[in-house]
């Protein structure tokens, strides 16, 4: 599903990623591991084409970084659910509106949006809080809203960049369980983390990074 070939991103200050060649498979749950600053987030940004490679290429399904247009990047992002450590919710919108955003921007009908968002909010256990402003929620709740927003558009891939980084262990566990459940339903998940306790009992594929490169262990 995702092919990285000699993928290099050079920020000019020594940071970035270097010569990454690997593949990510459809339906897999892949863990991207490594210390802070090792390039996990950069690799994820390349996956949703927020940054284009300086050298090498990445291809995701039919989209290839060497010939992708701005319009195609939007299409790609509409097929990917992105979850960030800092949630990135729109704080002046309520829970429902935040989750509905991807559907609103792609022009779904009011009825379809209400039906889909209600189901998703129920799945993440936030149906009761739909009226609350995103800014008033706890960290765990915010992350569950972010997950709901990521899956509401039925993406083929979830990119979760340190989704438990700002959460207490209990909330982190809830979020990880949700991601496992999403993956079990067939959606590919790539999760960057350095929370080794959280993932110690899982047998998901692990990719290690250090200083911008993949590490063979």
């Amino acid at each position: 599903m995702i092919t990285c070939s000699k993928l290099t991103v050079n920020f000019g200050n020594g940071e970035g990623i270097r010569n990454i060649t690997t593949q990510f498979y459809e339906g897999d749950f892949t863990l991207l591991l490594g210390p802070t600053g090792c390039g996990k987030s950069t690799l994820m940004r390349v996956m949703y084409m927020d940054i284009l490679p300086s050298k090498g290429y990445i291809s995701i399904r039919n989209w290839d970084s060497r010939k992708i247009s701005k319009r195609q990047i939007l299409k790609l992002r509409q097929g990917i659910g992105i979850i960030f450590q800092d949630f990135r919710l729109i704080e002046n919108l309520n829970v429902f509106e935040n989750v509905a955003l991807p559907l609103i921007m792609t022009g779904h009908s009011r009825k379809a949006i209400h039906e889909r968002v209600s189901v998703i909010l129920d799945e993440v256990g936030l149906l009761e809080t739909w009226r609350q402003k995103a800014g008033s929620l706890s960290g765990g709740e915010k992350q569950r809203v972010a997950i709901a927003r990521a899956i509401v558009k039925k993406p083929f891939l979830i990119l979760a960049d340190e989704p438990t980084g700002n959460l207490d262990p209990e909330a982190a566990n809830t979020v990880f369980e949700l991601l496992k459940k999403i993956n079990a339903l067939g959606t590919s998940v790539i999760m960057a983390t350095h929370n080794y306790t959280l993932i110690e009992d899982t047998d998901y594929r692990r990719i290690y990074m250090e200083n911008g490169s993949l590490v063979d262990l």
């Binding site: 939007l74 992002r77 509409q78 990135r88 729109i90 955003l101 921007m105």
Partner: protein
């Protein structure tokens, strides 16, 4: 749902930056009222000049002793001048009749004879009433055999030409300066709005929102500010007309008629200016600010 979301965002943006928005509306109103006021003045000046051009005539006085053939010959030569639109022959008798009409007395009763010469009244094409062209035509006609004198209001023509040029230059200058000022003003309020919402814009971009979906609330904000400014400009012009009419009613027997169309024109002009300025500003600042934060 998409429309209601965009409208909601527009009003949130306006409310968040309400003070700069209010300042923009007032300043747009004042600037636009000056622009439209000058436009109206210019229009009035041009229509007056147009009317003058329409009525402008050259009088060609002939020697009294010319016979019919000689007069026809002069008329044919006048018809050959391509700047001339209309030639009207006024015989001695016709001239006496006009004299009686204008002064109420018969020329024969005053002088026992009719000293008024036969003449041609000539009208030129509108675009041929420039003082230099008129002077050339008059000079050419005065050289015709049988023509005693050629008269026209040369001084008025030169004066009007001079003022029209001045009004046009000053008007265009002031209007351009104010349009640039309004553009900068709207651009700045949009810049503030975009800056205040830079994180939201970055989030929408990451979610795959199209440029227009992100920009539309800011464009609508600009349109609203422009339209409100336009309505305020209409109100200021309405007020100015009333003040002017009240001030001059004791001096002149004239009054300026305020057409409700001025409200429509100023609202539409303001909205169009708002749309133009805000769409450009939203586009440029959206990419400038949104990338800084995430």
């Amino acid at each position: 749902m998409r429309l209601s979301f965009i409208l909601k965002q527009t009003f949130i943006n306006l409310w968040t930056a309400r003070l700069p928005a209010l300042v923009a509306v007032f300043t747009i109103g004042i600037s636009l009222s000056i622009v439209i006021g000058m436009g109206l003045l210019g229009y009035k000046a041009f229509t007056s000049f147009d009317l003058f051009q329409d009525k402008f005539e050259i009088e060609v006085f002939l020697y009294p002793n010319l016979n019919r053939d000689e007069i026809t010959h002069i008329q044919n030569k006048l018809a050959d001048i391509h700047q001339i639109k209309m030639i009207n022959y006024i015989s001695k008798e016709e001239a006496a009749r006009i004299f009686k009409e204008e002064f109420g007395e018969d020329i024969h009763d005053i002088l026992d004879e009719n000293p008024l010469p036969p003449s041609f009244n000539i009208k030129l094409y509108k675009q041929m009433t420039h003082p230099d062209i008129v002077e050339n035509v008059a000079k050419r006609i005065s050289e015709f055999q049988g023509v005693e004198d050629v008269k026209y209001h040369k001084e008025i023509l030169i004066l009007i030409e001079k003022y029209i040029r001045l009004i046009t230059l000053v008007g265009i200058g002031v209007i351009l300066a104010l349009i640039i000022a309004m553009n900068i003003l709207i651009r700045n309020t949009i810049k503030l709005s975009v800056y205040a919402r830079r994180k939201q814009i970055a989030i929408l971009q990451q979610l795959g929102a199209g440029g227009l979906f992100i920009r539309l609330p800011y464009i609508l904000e600009g349109i609203l500010e422009g339209a409100l400014g336009g309505a305020f400009a209409g109100f200021l012009l309405h007020l100015s007309f009333q003040v002017i009419n009240f001030s001059v009613q004791y001096i002149f027997d004239v009054s300026l008629a305020f057409s409700p169309l001025i409200y429509t024109v100023s609202i539409i002009t303001g909205a169009l200016m708002g749309m133009f300025s805000s769409s450009r500003a939203a586009k440029s600042f959206m990419y400038l600010f949104a990338r800084d934060d995430y």
